[in-house]
Homo-oligomer: 288 residues x 2
């Protein structure tokens, strides 16, 4: 049996009791470590689970899934995923391959940022599609997120923006020389995301959002040091110090809001005067 | 401290290790039991947790939250919620009241149907806003879901439809006579949902969806007996036997699909011939 085990969002104790039992029982334990990370390191997990863990990087999961699935018809293999196992496309591939090989699969769900973001006080019913923001390079500035946000905002919905993480990246020089030396991991902050969003709005000029659009920066959601900061996109460009270490996410508000959302989120406002002013002018009682 | 503890979706072992520790430590333990249910009963939870549990019905949470929060500045109170604590508005109210009273709050997230529905193989990125379907009565047929689905489908997105549950309902006669006698709980099935959806399409006639629209019926998501059935809305009207006992949910597909989604979901098709035919004609390569 292949067990896809969600680890939740924060530390080693966010695994479910059912998930922990599956990990303890499995012959081999893999950890998917490239679409998200926990706030604790691998050795902490290994000590807590009492098991050694093989880190599965993107290459292994995408190109060498048969190694992960080896013998899984007869024995149990646990594949650990931060958050919920079905947050990322890659795991769909793994399940399809398991089906081909006749390996039975069981999923053990857990918290995902897609639902845990409800802790901002925004109603999950009012969210549209989720988008991703990658680190812009000089020659690579993908802007499909802009069209998705436009769609969401055209019907008044909030947008959750998931922020890029870069792990196990090689410098061009090291890659060219075939040296397996990796750069330190990088995690996008809310400030970088807000700036990139505003740059793209400036380029496209469709008025999908602007400096005064309301948003929430979220850090370490579900963890003990969880932190939310609410303000305009302009304010969030400079709020990384308030938010602290990774992981960060951002929510851009839609105009279809509920009074309860206002009251709940106001608590997190960088500047309540600004928050109240923009809310009254652009959000309160609006539908889209 | 008020702990909002997510219980996940299925049974007593879906609680996280962190959540279980909070439950064992708390002075009092409440269970919110009107927006969703686990597949096991209260006594199973009590035995497993080693704690007695007070069931908190809607009236208690909405009108008597001070009783739940009593003493919570000095001692720990655990408020258990099926799924993730922020799935429903009511808990926002409870947190706002806690803030007013100066009670610190911590949330322990868990799996929610909003992310666990990814086990259908549909990409969570392609979902629009979530809607609810209530049991229609002769004189009460709320159709706001139709407009929401229209919005989602206009931009090609899938829609998760959460189905009504009725617990602790009184008959009109018992209510009139002030008798606290409750009807057996009722859980909407995928068949009822599909029929109500088609009735409303017939009334409104806007062509938001139809008999041949593709959808997935989901039962007991995250549990050992999890079951998915894919087909047209017409086919799903009669698929309750295949799906088995509650809880059920339904996903109406949007047209912005990925080939991986096709391949993954096809496994669940009631009739693969129909599935392939409709997919080719109405979904493949479409954007909205």
């Amino acid at each position: 049996m292949l067990y896809l085990v969600g680890l939740g969002l924060s530390d080693e104790t966010d695994i479910t009791v059912k998930g922990l039992e599956a990990v303890k029982r499995a012959s081999r334990v893999y950890l998917e470590a490239y679409t998200s990370i926990l706030l604790v390191d691998q050795s902490t997990l290994e000590t807590y689970y009492g098991r050694s863990i093989t880190v599965a990087d993107r290459e292994m999961v995408e190109s060498n899934s048969d190694e992960i699935l080896r013998g899984a018809k007869e024995e149990d293999v646990a594949f650990l995923v931060v958050g919920d196992p079905f947050g990322a496309t890659t795991h769909t591939d793994l399940v399809l391959r398991a089906r081909e090989l006749g390996v039975p699969v069981r999923t053990i769900p857990n918290a995902s940022i897609l639902s845990a973001i409800g802790a901002t006080g925004l109603q999950l019913y009012n969210f549209g599609q989720t988008v991703s923001m990658v680190f812009f390079l000089d020659n690579w500035r993908p802007t499909s997120f802009y069209d998705r946000i436009k769609e969401n905002r055209s019907i008044g919905l909030h947008t959750l923006v998931l922020l890029d993480i870069k792990v196990k990246e090689q410098s061009l020089e090291n890659m060219a020389r075939g040296r397996k030396i990796y750069e330190p991991p990088r995690y996008m902050t809310v400030g970088t995301c807000a700036k990139q969003m505003l740059e793209v709005e400036e380029e496209k000029g469709e008025g999908v959002y602007g400096l005064e659009s309301l948003a929430i920066g979220a850090a370490r959601v579900g963890g003990k040091t969880e932190k939310f900061v609410a303000g305009t996109l302009q304010e969030l460009c400079d709020a990384d110090d308030l938010l602290g270490p990774p992981l960060h996410s951002l929510v851009l508000l839609g105009r279809r809001t509920h009074e309860l959302e206002y009251e709940f989120v106001r608590e997190f406002a960088i500047n309540r005067h600004t928050w109240d002013r923009v809310w009254e002018a652009d959000y309160k009682g609006k539908q889209s």
